[in-house]
Symmetry: C2
Subunit: 408 residues, 2 copies
């Protein structure tokens, strides 16, 4: 964890014990860190698993194996290595992951494909098998830890521990969803891959859990950006132990499925926002709300074009209501847009409508809004009913300092 | 022009008089600048014209009219306004452009569509018709000026005047190509739209000139990026007066066509590189050379993904041979790539080959290379014969200062 906590940080929630989920941490020593760097989470037998993974085609062995194994639907354990991403390490990297999976599977007496591994940290250095093995051995017998400890242990350049909590009433029982996440969109060797894990005691069939996670991903993790760069290791996994005792959710016709879906979506949104709030150098949290697009997906693409624009992000850093840069970003998105239907606003105040700057536009409330930490940009394309919200942070000297003012 | 000249600046070339081309400058007073801001270039009767324009769908009236009128193939005049981009100004902006075209057409006794207008500067403020009219009136009777004066007059946030020169032997005669350009990829109100103009005395049929300009554009202007943002007004126009007396070039079977095509490509490359050399805050000029792609277009897209990556650009600013970030950028490009075939190098020294970091990789020559002003990144995808080179600059504190540390 870095010394300077993000000004956008939020407190860690009081995540309770979740039946069937036991987190432990240990020190593998991947880096010279005076703290634990290996997280081991044991899951009850029969736990359902679902996952979403980076689309970066140069992904790590962990991602390849996770993507392949999530399909069989069951998980008994999660291992997260912090300090070494094991990405771009070829067959040697693959061997290290296989070794961890085999070690944990032997301990639990479960199939190897029910052990999920993630790694985050330096790229191009194969995960040292001896350190991993010793770390896992220590973790297997460590005392169970709290969720904040686990969140701190999966972290790398994160400036604060990130967790999310939600509950739902399903089949007459209260189910709990607790989650942790790390990262902010960067890649090793700066160690800020996004890794997120959601744990619930709700009973959910694996296929339905995957359906819900994929749907939530579309409007949460897929709608955030820090710097437009995509890690080779991004991973979000959801684990459902079923220990709450509800009748298993198998589809939207199961009682309580809607409530669970809403809680899962809520947790994903919390996690996604926390990642943006820890963006490198972030001083402002920006919501880009796009309406009037020809489709929701088109709205999302326009939102991402705005949220990824260095000129928009630096304008917000400068507290400048620079709607011209927003127009530019809309125009370069490659989506249907018509200059003469376009409206742009900040904090709910329109600066330009129907393609023309407003003559009576009052800059004072906009200027006040832009001085805050939470910024809203409104864009109405005036074409259809498609809408999406995308979240990002501003682009500041802090980003440059973190990413350029170092020597490896 | 800004006070601090880019460390990557190059001297203005000694562009001679070009037969049939007469540049003049005047002061329209669009901004409180103590210098000329309106450029007027008169072209001999029968001058051929070709153009390439921004793909930004929120483009200015100037771009819409230029794109529509370039098809008729002939030009008598060019007017460039600096200080007001006239973008996002609706019908009032359109009226101002129409008025300028009519005024010049009346003076020259030519069809209005043979007058080409560009504007660069603040967005969302209609170009003031009275200032434009007075500026044009002054320019029409001004003394002809040199090319460096014209280059300075079309500039806005540029830190140095940018020009290019080439000659070719066509049909036994020496033809000259002189060109000026301004900008670096930003948008108004920071006034750094890219506007480029190429003038030659060669006789070229309009259709063939367009074919050659479009082809050159694909490997020059379409292969540069400063910050991934796309102006609403980017324009490159080529004018051929035919006064060199050669037999008109109508296709590649015309004598000298190859020589002219090479000279035009050379000028476009010079201009494109000059724009990158004046990128906001640029301290290093970066060439990203991609080989082994499945096609040239795929190589170009991979190159742009690398050149637009904030993490790659900050790593170069930090003089860090961070090949992991290059791997990440390759992977996110959405083009065919295989981690295990990928090779990455800097300054001609491979850091990783066939998906693995080189064990005997000598960082010393790479470190020395990265301390220079001219940086090369080599990427071999190991898949096919496709290749492309893309040029960009590093991402520094200077970029943030220029784009965020101001108040409008």
């Amino acid at each position: 964890m870095s010394d300077a906590v993000s000004p956008l940080a939020q407190p860690f929630p009081a995540i309770p014990l979740i039946a069937g989920v036991t987190p432990r941490v240990a020190r593998a020593g991947y880096k010279d860190w005076g703290r634990c760097d290996l997280t081991y989470v044991e899951l009850a037998e029969g736990t359902a698993v679902a996952g979403v993974f980076t689309r970066n085609v140069c992904c790590s062995s962990e991602v390849e194996l996770g993507r392949a194994n999530v399909g069989q639907g069951r998980a008994r354990a999660l291992v997260v290595n912090a300090g070494n991403s094991n990405a771009f390490t070829g067959y040697r990297g693959r061997e290290a992951v296989d070794a961890i999976m085999a070690q944990v599977a032997a301990h639990l007496g479960c199939p190897q494909e029910q052990v999920f591994v993630s790694s985050t940290g330096v790229i191009g250095v194969p995960l040292p098998k001896d350190k991993a093995e010793a770390g896992v051995r220590a973790a297997l017998v460590a005392q169970p830890c709290g969720w904040q400890d686990a969140a701190n242990t999966i972290g790398t350049t994160d400036t604060f521990a990130k967790g999310a909590l939600a509950t739902a009433i399903v089949d007459g029982r209260t189910v709990t969803l607790g989650a942790i996440i790390k990262g902010s969109g960067m890649i090793a060797p700066d160690m800020a891959t996004m890794l997120g894990y959601i744990f619930t005691d709700c009973a959910v069939a694996p296929g339905f859990l995957q359906e819900l996670l994929s749907a939530a991903n579309t409007r949460t993790f897929s709608c955030i950006t820090v710097d437009s760069d995509t890690s080779t290791s991004d991973t979000v996994l959801a684990f459902a132990t079923g220990r709450a005792g509800n009748a298993e959710l198998t589809g939207f016709d199961s009682p309580g499925a809607d409530a669970f879906a809403a809680a899962l979506g809520d947790v994903c949104m919390q996690l996604a926002h926390l990642v943006v709030r820890d963006g490198e150098g972030a001083q402002k949290f920006i919501a880009v709300e796009v309406t009037g697009a020809v489709s929701n997906e088109s709205a999302r693409k326009v939102g991402l074009a705005i949220a990824n624009s260095p000129l928009v992000k630096t304008a917000i850093a400068g507290e400048d209501a620079n709607w011209g840069r927003v127009v530019m970003a809309v125009g370069k998105a490659g989506e249907p847009a018509d200059r003469d239907n376009l409206s742009i606003g900040f904090g709910g105040v329109w600066a330009a409508r129907d393609g023309l700057p407003l003559g009576d536009y009052d800059e004072a409330p906009v200027a006040a809004h832009l001085k805050g930490r939470e910024i809203e940009i409104q864009v109405d394309l005036g074409l259809g009913e498609g809408r999406a919200t995308v979240w990002t942070c501003d682009l500041t000297h802090g980003y440059i300092s973190i990413n350029a003012d170092y020597r490896s």
